[in-house]
């Protein structure tokens, strides 16, 4: 974890810049409209040379739209963009890049099948006899890579490197043009702590060189570790622009979340070890030395009916991989699962479903939503798949199930015939939950069910999970938000570096810092 040290780093010079220096980018009264939606409504934004400016907001607040408006991907319907003192409208990312504004996106948007050198240099490649000069290209690429502190072979193909390296290659590419402005759109979401630190070193160096950096990240710690200034957007509108040093975390969060005071943020149920197992209660499912090479090291885990197990750990710590083994989504290569004392072989999700195990993937769009099917079809999909295609669910029964779950989960709009792709993230998540609940699972594996959805839906889902556990369901709950895990779980399994390192009952005295401690120390302090 990166220690937030805003005050050490916050220097007087940046404050001064705010008042005296001319912003390198100044956007005034920016509006962007899509048919039927006003994505941005008269937003102001400015970026000074030599600062890291964090753009904050919940999903749908308008962060990416603002970035796209700046780089010319989205057309603005009102407002002015002044870059370097001149009013400008860019024709697209390429145009913006040529004129000193480079963007690096969340998912590495480079071509894995090309070499590292090409990924850095294409568009600015050195030429010889009218064609690419490969030798010079590799040499120049090496210089740019060194600037990022990377020592890799420019002739190697990009997809032979880790995501973190690819991300730094993307920044190398961005800096080839001597960018005055660097836009980093959630570059850290798939990096581990060391990698983030390396990225920050690069960012600090660029800041010293006078580059204005626009930084988007969902990790508050990172924002406080690196940014000088914060602009908060909400529902397409500017909320505030503040110096990071003067904005406490709590206030930032409340600025981001519409109409919620501090108290309302934590409205969801507090379970905290509510389920009290008696000595003689039998586990529903036992993992004994279960593991998969490269994914999770062999682990033991007992799951009891009526109990919520939280999986805590950083992104990439093996949380998802563990859940996928329990579901048979990936095949294990060591250990076994036991149910009621006998071995259980799960090779496919289908077999898991037959054992009344259900799993919602963290990748909602890729592995959950079947967008062009209706809400109703999505809800009965799991149930129908279990029955096979020859025994269709009777229409009236299907209708009953769909209506019951839509009502229970409060799916909006309450139209079973709407296509699922047209629903908001939170409602899609509810529909997916309904799909699994309809199969009447005994064990429910929830992988990041609360990610990227609004606070209201989040609360509803967490309350529901707690209720289900009360009714006797075993639940495994995964979330990046430790607060949520702590709140909802009866017991927490801590993951670190693809290993289950600790198991903690969530008694009253366990708090988030303690949990972080365990994650950080790999459970040794316990």
């Amino acid at each position: 974890m990166i220690a937030p040290t805003p005050h050490q780093r916050q220097n007087a010079a940046t404050d001064q810049l705010a008042t005296s220096a001319r912003p390198v980018v100044e956007m005034t009264g920016i509006s962007v409209e899509f048919p039927g939606v006003k994505a941005l409504n008269s937003v102001d934004f400015r970026l000074f040379p030599g600062e890291v400016h964090a753009l904050m907001g919940e999903n749908g607040a308008g962060k990416s739209t603002l970035i796209k408006a700046l780089t010319g991907v989205n057309q603005i319907s009102a407002g002015t963009i002044v870059v370097d003192g001149k009013q400008t409208l860019f024709g697209g990312p390429a145009d913006a890049r040529e004129r000193g504004i480079s963007t690096v996106y969340q998912e590495v948007n480079l071509c894995g099948n090309l070499t590292v050198a090409e990924n850095i240099m294409l568009g600015n490649e050195p030429r010889r006899f009218g064609g690419l000069d490969w030798k010079a290209m590799r040499a120049q690429a090496r210089v740019h890579l060194e600037r990022m502190g990377l020592d890799i072979d420019p002739a190697s193909s990009l997809d032979s490197h880790s995501l973190a390296v690819q991300q730094l290659v993307a920044i190398s590419r961005a800096m080839v043009v001597d960018a005055k402005v660097l836009i980093l759109d959630e570059p850290t979401s798939s990096l581990d702590a060391d990698e983030v630190e390396q990225l920050f070193r690069v960012m600090r160096r660029l800041r010293e060189e006078g580059v204005g950096i626009l930084f988007v990240s969902h990790f508050l710690d990172q924002i406080y570790a690196i940014s000088d200034r914060i602009t908060v957007l909400r529902n397409g509108q500017l909320v505030q622009e503040r110096m990071t040093a003067d904005l406490p975390q709590r206030e930032l969060v409340s600025l981001m979340i519409a109409g919620t005071s501090d108290a309302e943020v934590g409205v969801a149920t507090e379970r905290r070890g509510k389920a009290m197992r008696t000595e003689d209660s039998a586990p529903l499912l036992q993992a004994v030395g279960l593991g998969r090479k490269g994914a999770v090291e062999p682990f033991d885990l007992d799951l009891y009916p009526g109990e919520v197990i939280g999986l805590a750990g950083l992104l990439g710590s093996g949380r998802t991989e563990l859940a996928r083994l329990l579901y048979g989504a990936d095949k294990s290569d060591s250990g076994q699962l036991r149910a009621a004392g006998s071995d259980l072989k799960l090779r496919t999700p289908r077999q898991a479903l037959a054992q009344k195990i259900a799993y919602t993937s963290e990748d909602r769009k890729g592995e959950g939503v079947v967008g062009e099917l209706t809400v109703a079809e999505n809800i009965i999909l799991g149930l129908q798949a279990a029955r096979g295609w020859m025994r269709p669910l009777p229409k009236t029964k299907a209708k009953q199930i769909v209506e019951a779950y839509m009502k229970a989960l409060g799916v909006r709009p309450a139209n079973p015939d709407a296509l699922l792709k047209n629903l908001s993230g939170g409602n899609q998540q509810k529909v997916l939950l309904a799909r699994w609940l309809a199969t009447a699972p005994k064990l429910l594996l929830l992988d990041e069910p609360t990610r990227g959805i609004d606070i209201g839906a989040k609360t509803e889902i967490m309350n529901l999970v707690s209720e289900l556990a009360d009714q006797g369901m075993a639940v495994v709950f995964i979330s990046a938000e430790l607060e949520e895990v702590l709140r909802l779980s009866d017991r927490i399994a801590v993951m670190r570096d693809h290993k289950k390192v600790a198991e903690i009952p969530t008694t009253r005295d366990v708090d988030v810092p303690q949990l972080i401690e365990v994650i950080a120390n790999g459970g040794e302090s316990k």
Partner: protein, 331 residues
């Protein structure tokens, strides 16, 4: 400035490792070599200059088609129209020459017809979001229909300038080169240069690797995607001229199913149909393998001609499965 970090690892000596990307092409080369060896051992005169020369002379048009097809497939597209466009170009050549037009005007016109059709398909695919398969299928039907509008029957070419061109050969001993082979070689050279030495060529690979990424990298994706179909159309037009030189006629029913030969050659040559990986020289090897199969079956004498298709099918199967294993190991 240059601080090597734990993340990137320290610079170590790496033994020269074979790049995975070359494996499919090497496989094709191996097959090609094996076929030559087996043919040479089994039949007299198999490895004679005449046979090898003929391999190139008979397949010059297919080499050009395969080169164009490689561009398209590298972007992840497909072009089903090339066989028909080849026929159209040969028919245009024959009809116009017999109408007394000058060779120097007719040949560029015939080739341009291919480019124009390619442009039309490219625009349909890029700007009207019609799937490549459907758009080029339409192009295939359109070109074939146009052939019959020009000339329903086979048209023998009598133009002297053209005949002189077809008669031109370069010989050294029993090795022989026709103008068509020289042209095919030039096309190859140009394709190789464009694909590996130009920004456009690298954009072709980039589009195949990930269209969205390529766009965000600021590469000119739209133009590139249209251009590959123009290139393929142009190659097909040129191949039509070469075919007219080879057969000294233009006939509306030539090149039926030739698009499949071109696709098969590209696939056997190690280019992935998903795009992004492959080499134009591999495609040429693919053409050579197809040509050798035909030659071997002719040499065998007792085997009927339909064995050619079956062997090509089996070979495709083997290569596809091998490629599949390669890509599986990569991920």
């Amino acid at each position: 400035m240059s601080t090597a970090t734990a993340l990137a690892g320290t610079r170590t000596f790496r033994p020269p490792k074979l790049d995975r990307r070359y494996l499919p092409v090497l496989g094709t080369m191996l097959v090609f070599g094996l076929m030559l060896v087996i043919g040479g051992l089994r039949y007299d005169n198999f490895l004679s200059p005449a046979v090898i020369s003929n391999l190139f002379i008979n397949n010059a048009h297919l080499i050009v088609l395969a080169a164009g097809m490689t561009f398209v497939i590298l972007t992840g597209g497909i072009d089903l129209s090339v066989g028909s466009v080849l026929a159209l170009s040969s028919v245009i050549t024959a009809t116009l020459l017999n109408a007394g037009w000058n060779v120097a005007l007719v040949l560029p016109l015939a080739i341009a017809a291919g480019s124009l059709l390619g442009l039309g398909m490219g625009v349909m695919i890029q700007y009207f979001e019609v799937q490549p398969f459907v758009a080029t299928l339409a192009g295939m039907f359109l070109a074939r229909g146009l052939c019959f509008v020009f000339a329903p029957e086979s048209v023998p070419i009598r133009d002297e300038g053209f005949i002189a061109l077809t008669n031109w050969t370069m010989a050294s001993g029993r090795w022989r080169l026709t103008a068509a082979v020289v042209i095919a070689a030039l096309v190859l050279l140009a394709s190789w240069w464009v694909l590996h030495r130009s920004r456009f060529g690298r954009t072709v690979y980039a589009v195949g690797g990930g269209e969205q990424s390529a766009t965000l990298m600021g590469l000119r994706v739209e133009r590139t995607k249209v251009m590959v179909y123009v290139i393929s159309g142009t190659c097909a037009g040129l191949a039509g001229v070469l075919f007219a030189m080879f057969s000294r006629s233009g006939y509306a029913l030539t090149g039926v199913g030739m698009e499949l030969d071109a696709i098969a050659a590209v696939v056997i040559g190690g280019t992935l149909l998903t795009g992004g990986t492959g080499f134009v020289l591999g495609s040429v090897l693919g053409v050579m393998v197809l040509g050798l199969i035909q030659t071997i079956i002719t040499f065998e004498g007792t085997l009927s001609s339909w064995w050619t298709k079956i062997v090509i099918g089996v070979l495709l199967l083997v290569f596809v499965i091998l490629q599949r294993i390669l890509t599986l190991r990569r991920t």
